[in-house]
């Protein structure tokens, strides 16, 4: 029996895992003939909307997610909010994020259909991914060969995207002379750590990368080098970190602090983030042992830009005075 697939108008909140899997998702839904509506970049209005809807205990990025979902709600037929339990073997996603679909349904008035296929790759990654793809497709009435093909297209797009980001890291290899600052010295390499949804959300994350660049730094992001490097560094820890996102950050931190040319590390965290509170402290201790300057910036909804700027300015000043050109 051939089912005519409906043209869905799907909402994807520009928050949280959007910053990890956007190319995958968009390519997948488009290949299945759906229209994908992504909410606009975070603004104060979206953030305020999220804060008014979310439970007080949620971390700021989750609150912002609510804001994006609420912005989309009246504009789409369904929201895509996968329940991410695990994206790799024996590692997990934060429980607050696992519960997103349920919390959203409870918080948003006139909530449209929420497509919340479970993604659990913790035991059998291949099967888990297949099931997640199948369930997502089924929710919009697609099945069979077409879904497989869409999955392949999405996977290709995703890997391509990851490779391009690593490429960008290589473009700024330390030997290059471009971007000499007005002070006449090559920019200081600064490793910027944190969840993608903080680092790449310019409003929520206060565009730390831009600020560091304007202060004469050259930012290296976790996605600018092969993830295997971070994984390898993490293996030297006494115990395996089983929070996927936390381990990514820890791996990036360890890898970057081992690089001679990296002058210092900045870790951007969100107040109320459980894994961050542990990983951040752990990373700071390792950095301390290695003698690598480490700045921890914690964001919450009351964080003023002035305080962040003073800290960044003082940090870059310190790096510049420590390593004279």
């Amino acid at each position: 029996m051939v089912v005519k697939v409906k043209q869905w108008r799907l909402g994807v909140p520009r928050a949280l895992f959007y910053y990890y899997y956007a190319p995958w998702w968009e390519a997948f839904f488009k290949a299945l003939g759906a229209e994908v509506v992504v909410s606009p970049p975070t603004t104060r209005e979206i953030m305020d909307l999220g804060i008014s809807l979310a439970v007080a205990e949620a971390c700021l990025p989750v609150k912002v997610f609510y804001g994006h979902a609420a912005w989309l709600a009246p504009r789409v037929e369904a929201l895509f909010v996968p329940r991410l339990v695990s994206v790799e073997k024996k590692s997990f996603i934060c429980p607050k994020l696992m519960g997103l679909p349920d919390m959203l349904r409870a918080a948003i008035k006139d909530c449209p259909l929420v497509i919340d296929a479970t993604v659990d790759l913790s035991r059998r990654p291949e099967e888990g991914l297949r099931a997640a793809i199948r369930d997502t497709a089924r929710a919009i009435g697609a099945r069979g060969r077409q879904v497989e093909r869409a999955g392949e297209i999405a996977r290709a797009r995703y890997w391509d995207w990851l490779a391009r980001q690593q490429e960008q890291g290589r473009e700024f290899s330390p030997g290059k002379k471009e971007g000499i600052t007005p002070g006449g010295r090559p920019p200081l390499a600064v490793g910027l750590l944190g969840h993608n949804y903080l680092l790449h959300d310019h409003y929520l994350g206060m565009d730390i990368a831009g600020k560091v660049t304007r202060l004469g730094g050259r930012v290296i992001l976790p996605e600018n080098f092969a993830p295997e490097l971070g994984e390898a560094s993490c293996r030297r820890l006494p115990k395996r970190l089983y929070w996927t996102l936390g381990r990514k950050i820890m791996g990036a931190a360890l890898h970057l602090m081992e690089q001679e040319e990296v002058a210092g590390l900045i870790h951007l965290t969100a107040f109320g983030c459980g894994p961050d509170s542990l990983v951040g402290d752990l990373a700071e201790r390792y950095a301390h042992r290695r003698g690598k300057p480490f700045l921890l910036l914690t964001l919450d909804e009351h964080t003023g830009e002035a305080g962040v700027e003073t800290r960044l300015e003082a940090f870059i000043d310190m790096l510049a005075r420590r390593c004279p050109a």
């Binding site: 603004t43 104060r44 964080t303 003073t310 003082a314 000043d317 310190m318 005075r321 420590r322």
Partner: protein
């Protein structure tokens, strides 16, 4: 005519201005309350500095620091604009060469700066909470009816400082009231408060920092003898309070201006104390961010704007 360098530190609670001679000696200093009005504070400060110097001077350079450094820089025409950490570190190194730890407690913030071989290697500032800063001491002194100037002296008279929870200003206050009701003498409570604040500072701001001597204690709170003693007890080392402890930020800013050595200073002249500066704010409706834009005007001319995330307003002003 003598040449001087000016350092201006516009903080949340106080505005400090100092003048250096060309050899880097501090020749005049003014400490004023900002009272939420930085512009009149800066003007008043400059007027007083000029009066103290008592002669015509050429300003060879101006440095600004503190949370109002941007405003002060535009208003006065500064040559160097620096954050408080760098300014305080520079000043402490000048006064105590070889200093390895700087404890600074101001009105609404506190910081620790770690230096090694004269270079800042680590620092921390208090997070959102202002517990354990000057404002809290001020408030408690007022509540107890003690002039803040006598607070430290009173703490020194304590025999058995009581233990007060210093984590949070609100809880510390309830704890103090409770101790008062129980009948503990005032000096023991005051000394207990100093110890609680030091504990709080070392556990929060100083967490994980390697505090090595020489230790310099500066900022307005360093005036408090009770705090000085509490610090040296907790650290088990002598705590040095520099002569100009209250204006070290401004001192550092002036030193940085002198170090930069501009050929001609951008200083807009002491006449600016008589000019009419005004700030105004508006909410930009250009996008959903609704940035609160602030502008500084002199007469009818807009000198600077800030507060917008996109630069639409701040870049529109030709400086």
């Amino acid at each position: 005519m003598t040449s001087i360098y000016l350092g201006i530190d516009v903080g949340s609670v106080s505005t400090n201005i100092i003048a250096l001679d060309t050899d880097g000696n501090l020749i005049a200093s003014v400490y004023l309350r900002t009272r939420g009005q930085p512009i009149p504070a800066i003007q008043e400060g400059l007027r007083e500095i000029r009066a103290t110097l008592g002669q015509e001077v050429t300003v060879a350079g101006v440095g600004t620091t503190g949370s109002g450094r941007g405003l002060a820089a535009v208003m006065t025409g500064a040559d160097v604009v620096k954050n408080e950490i760098t300014a305080h570190a520079v000043a402490a190194s000048k006064v105590v060469p070889g200093v390895q730890t700087v404890l600074e407690i101001g009105g609404q913030d506190s910081k620790i700066i770690i230096l090694r071989q004269g270079v800042v290697t680590d620092f921390a500032m208090n997070t959102v909470c202002a517990a354990g800063t000057g404002s809290f001491l001020d408030q408690q002194a007022a509540r107890l009816g003690i002039p803040i100037e006598d607070f430290g002296r009173l703490a020194l008279e304590a025999r058995n400082p009581v233990r007060i929870a210093g984590r949070c200003a609100v809880f510390a206050e309830s704890d103090m009231i409770h101790k008062q009701q129980q009948g503990h003498p005032l000096e023991d409570i005051v000394a207990g408060l100093c110890e609680a604040m030091v504990r709080n500072y070392l556990n929060n701001v100083g967490k994980g920092k390697e505090i090595l001597p020489p230790v310099v204690f500066q900022g307005g709170v360093a005036a408090n003898a009770g705090m000085r003693r509490a610090f040296s007890r907790a650290l088990g080392t002598e705590v040095i309070v520099p002569e100009h402890y209250g204006v070290m930020g401004a001192y550092g800013a002036a030193l940085l201006a002198r170090e930069a050595g501009p050929k001609t200073s951008a200083f807009r002249g002491f006449e600016l104390t008589e000019r009419d500066f005004r700030t105004g704010g508006f909410e930009c409706r250009g996008c959903a961010n609704h940035c609160e834009v602030v502008e500084l005007r002199e007469e009818n001319e807009v000198l600077a704007r800030w507060g917008d995330r996109c630069g639409k307003w701040s870049n529109a002003v030709a400086v």
